[in-house]
Structures are given as C-alpha cells and as structure tokens.
C-alpha cells in the first residue's frame, strides 16, 4: 500500500503552520529565521508531493517535474534568505547587543 497524497499534504500543512506560529510567537531573530526555514520546507514537501503524485496530470509527459523545479528555486531562495538574514542580524547586533526583534523598533511611527 502506498501513502495517500493527502497525508503528505497534511504533514506539510501542519509543519507550515508550526513555522508560522513560531514566527509570530518567538522574539529571537535566529529562531524566527529557523521557523521561516520550516515554512519553506513545508512548501517544498507540498510541491514535491504534488509533482510526484499529481504531476503527470498537468503536462503530457508522465514525469512532469514542475514542482520539483520550484523546489530547487525554493532552495536557492532559502539559502539567499538565510545568508542575508543572518548578515542583517549580525549587523543589527553590532549596533545594539540584542537579537530580540521586538526590541528593535526604531522604525515605529
């Protein structure tokens, strides 16, 4: 027996909202970054699941890998995002020694 597509999607949904909740709840910038990574991973799972299980529904070829292609792009984005995000965190940390995002509110109106 094979695992149904829905199960994968459900796992991805749960992980996604875990990440979202983390982004909302946690204050530590690094942790928030991690949670964002979780969300990206969840989206990856959904993409791969669809492209492997339902991919051949779309285009004609039975091995349609569109979703996986987008996973590759998501990986790229994630890498760039982490690099720049951490750089920003470090730069901010140099100015005021904290990683709590809600203490960096100079931009408030």
């Amino acid at each position: 027996m094979t695992v149904p597509l829905g199960a994968f999607i459900a796992v991805s949904a749960v992980l996604f909202f875990l990440g979202a909740g983390g982004v909302l709840v946690r204050r530590n910038a690094v942790v928030i970054l991690m949670c964002v990574e979780l969300m990206l991973n969840a989206s990856n799972l959904a993409l791969v699941a669809f492209s492997r299980r339902a991919g051949q529904l779309g285009a004609g070829n039975p091995l349609d890998q569109r979703g996986s292609v987008f996973v590759v792009f998501v990986l790229v984005i994630a890498a760039a995002e982490v690099a720049v995000g951490l750089a920003i965190i470090l730069a901010a940390y140099r100015n005021r020694p904290t990683v709590n995002v809600d203490e960096l509110h100079e931009m408030k109106g």
Partner: protein, 638 residues
Amino acid sequence: MIHNVWLIPAFPLAAFLINALFGRRWLKRWTGPLASLSIAASALVAIGVFLEVRSGAERTIVPLYTFISVGAFHANVAALVDPLSSAMLLVVTVISFLIHVYAIGYMAHDHGFWRFFSWFPLFVFAMLILVLGDNYLVMFVGWEGVGLCSYLLIGFWFERPEPAGAAKKAFVMNRIGDWGFMIGMITTFLVFGSMNFVDVFERVAKDPPAQGVLSLICLAFFLGATGKSAQLPLYSWLPDAMEGPTPVSALIHAATMVTAGVYLVARSTPLFAAAGPVLAGVGGVGALTAIFAATIALVQVDIKRVMAYSTVSQLGYMFLALGAGAPIAAMFHLITHAFFKALLFLGSGSVIHGIGGVQDMRRMGGLRSKMPLTYWTMVIAGGALAALPPLAGFWSKDEILGSAFKNGYPILWVVGVFTGGLTAFYVTRAIWLTFHGQPRDRQLFEHAHESPRVMTWPLLALAVGSALVGFIGFPPDNGFLHSFLRPALEAGAAQQAIPPEASNWLEFLAFAAISTAVGVGGILLGLSMYSRGRPDPAAVSRAAGPYYDVLVNKYYVDEIYDRRFVGVAKAFAGAAWAFDIHIIDGLVNRLGWAIKLAGGGLRRAQTGIVGNYALSVVAGLLLIMVVYGGYATGWLRR
C-alpha cells in the same frame, strides 16, 4: 551614388557629435576644419547625386528605416531624390561649405569656437533632412531641427541680452509657423491617409478632395512657410536674428533655412496648384512682403539689417513667383539669391570683422581702400541683387517678373518692378555708405584691415558664383535649370505644362529692358543722393517727415505686436498662473494636508515591532481564507 544619399546628412551629423562630445576638451581649434571637411565630403556626395539625377535617374526613394508604424500610420525615414531635392542639396552643401570655411576665420577669436562648430554642422544636418525627407513628417523633423539650430545660433552670444531676446523671438514666431505646418500635416494625413509626397500628390491628381479642405491644408502649410521664410505677418524675427554671428546670418538667415518655406511650397506645388485661390494669395503675400521690406530697407543704418530686410523682400519675390505659378523661377531665384545674398552677408561680415565689430554704416565710409577685395566682391553681389545683367540676380528676377506678367498677374509684375527699383537704391546706398566717401570715424578707419585669406577666398568663390550662376537659367525659360527641374515640378506647374516655346527673345528683351531700366534708375538715384548730395538725403528725410519716421520704426510692427498680441498673451498667462496657484495647487495642498492628518492618525499603527506586522499578515490570510471558503461553499454568494 543615389543609394548612398544617406551619407550626405551623415557627415555633418558625425561632425556634430564629434565636436559636441570632444570639442571642448580636446579638439578645440580643430573643430572648425573638421566641420568644414565633413560638409565638403557631403558636398562631394551631393555633386555625385546631382550628376546621377541629371543623367536621367528620376524620383528615387531611398528608404532608410521605419520611423513610426502605428496602425494605419506608417512613416518611413526615407530620402526622396528627385531633381528638386538634388538641386537643393547641391546649393545647401556648397554654400554651407564656403560659409563654414569663412566662419573659421570669422569666429577665430571667439571663446565659443567649439560650440559654434558643433551647432553649425548640426544645422546643416537638419537642413539636409528637411530637403531629403520623402514625407511631411521627416520634413517636419528637419524643419524643427533647423528652427532649433537657428535659435541656438542666434543666441550664440547669450551673455548679451539682445541675442538672447532675439533668439527667443525667432523661436516663438517660428513656433507659430510650425503650428501651421503641423495642422497642415495632420490634415493631410486625415484627408489622404498618408504623408508621403508621392502618394499625396497622386491622390490629388486622381481624386482631389473638396476645395475647402485643400485650401485649408495649403493655408496651413503656407502659414508654416511664412513663419520659416519670414513673410508677412511673421517676418519680424528675421531682422532681429542679425544679433547672431554673421556666418549664421549668411547661412541660416539668408541662404538656406529661410528658403525652407519656399522649398516647402515648391515641393507641394501639386497641392497648391490644385488650390488656386490660395496660390494667388501666396503671390499676393509675397509681393506685399517684397515691397514692404524693401521700403524698410531703404532707411536702415545697420548694414546687416539692410541685408536682412533685403532678404525678406527677396524671399517675397520667390513667393511671388510661386504664387504666379512659376515654381521653377522661384527655385531659380532661390539658388541665385543663395549665392549673392550669402556673399553680401559675408562681405558685410568681413567689413564688421575688419573694423572691430561695428555694424553702423554711419561710422563707416571710405573703406574701399582698406579692403578692396571685400569691396569688389560686394559690388558684384550688389549688382546681382540689383539685377544688373548679366549677373545672377538679373536672370532669375527677370524670369520671375516675366512669368508673373505672362501668367496674368500684372499687379504683381508692377510691384515686382517697383521693388526692383527700391532694391537697387538701397543696395547702392549701403555699398556707398560703407566703402565710398570720407571715413566718418577716423580711428575706426585707421584700424580697419582686410580680412584673412580664409575669409576672403570664400568671398571670391561666392562672387564667381553670383556672377555666373545665373547662366544655368540661360537661355531664358528653357535653360538647363528648366529642363532639369521641370519633371519634378511638372505636376503642379500647370501653366508651364505647355511645352516650353523656344524662348521668346523679343518679349524677354522687353521685360529685361524695363526692369533693368528701373534698376539702373534706382542705382543712379542712390549715387546722386549719396555721392553728390542732390537731392540731399537729410533734406529728403526731412521732407518725408512722418513717412520717414514710420519707415525708420519699421512701420511700428514690433510695437503693434507687443500691444496687440504679447499683451494679450501676458494677460492670459497671468490668469492661467492665478488659476494654477489658487485652484490646482490649492487642491493639491488641501489633499496633502488631509493625507498628513490621516497619516498622523495611522502612524500609531506602525509599532515598529516586526511580530505585529507578521501577525497582521496572518490575519489577512485568515480573511482571505474566510472569503474564499465562503464563495467556495456558497454561503457568501448572493
């Protein structure tokens, strides 16, 4: 050769780019020779094209690239090479070359040397585009281009207020004319669905539109022509344009640009011919301008202004010819006039250069001994202007008058002949006051000197031209020029459609005799007035009294324009300004104030805490889900 016709404008353009980019820092004095060489190159190409056209190649259209292509509207940048444009090319390039060379000497001590020689080729480029364009749009591009260059070059010495003002005046007046041109262009497109000369003329020949529409188009184009060619009522910028450097006056405001109007009308002969009354009007305006400007020229004391008014009046002659249905004669006069008027300007420029920038004839006098070469060339040019046989002006002007009479416009003929007399008089006066008699300003006289070679050789070349160029129109009415231009202007020259009879020597001699007699009369009168003082000029002016004042003040035209138009325009501008400040800006300010208020309120929402923003994003997501789910499940659908 014809298919490389694009080279002709290309050379000046290249010169312009090079000089404008590198002139200031690196090329400096070399900009002048560079520009002249580029013009020489295009002149050579132009000669090649001319010869090829002469050997029978007719009306070739050399497409360069597609300029605009919108829906039904296609405008290609293409060169129309036919006898008319090739002749024009020849004149423009050759004269431009001579004047460029002259300018190297004339502008030698000017700090804006590189600037001058980047704009001068640019002008030539624009003029060539104007001449070459195969449709009204491209022609218009060149038209605006020459307008721009004339503006830049009139205001070349923009440090002084007069040139700046003159430049602005020229630009504004030209704008009025250009507006006419645009109206004509657009109407042409609406009526004929194309702007290409060929198509338009074919359409006119086949199924001409309503007379009214046609007249409208022609009137619009003619308005443009009056603007560019300084005809009534838009002539008054040309005399002021003399504030620019003399080579500019010679090239732009005597030889080439101002003839653009004539070229436009000649080019559109089929149109104008189809709109008879407008054509007559053109002739009338031309005649009026001719005599009007000539009378003003009688009393001017600034040598360059005399030339300027004489230019206006000569242009009047050309329009007269066009109106009289003799476009070939018009072109003929255009060519000859280009030579001798350029020569006159360059000569006076050489005089001004020689005595250190003075233009007032009352301070000159007796310069003949100091600058003989200038003097003799000026005399030749003056003779040509006064239409003394066998100089150039004689043939062309005589042909104009003759054809005017033959085509049944005796009034125009009378006016033309009379104007010829005036012309002869004022040119005599100018030359005499400048070169003869006692020097009226000693120390000026002492420092006077003949101009350098680089200036005098162009003078000589032009003098030869002014003397001989008339013979391209010999024998009268079917000289070389006629047979050359006829195929181009045939379509319109209805009156000349009759195969040219072997020129009728008898009537030619009659006309020649009359006009020459009048001209000589004018010359003799001038000589007697200014050399012997009988009748004494001062006495004459006193006797003339108010009329004299009117002439001196140029019929108060500028003042009238000031009061009538400029005042109105200023009032309107003031009203617009008030509207802008109080209504439009007021609205904007109120709006900004309101937004500032709202922003001040919403500012509180910007907590600066990233978490809140993220939370709001997620809340938005919830909203979207609710709405979408609502529609999907249907309980939101009503």
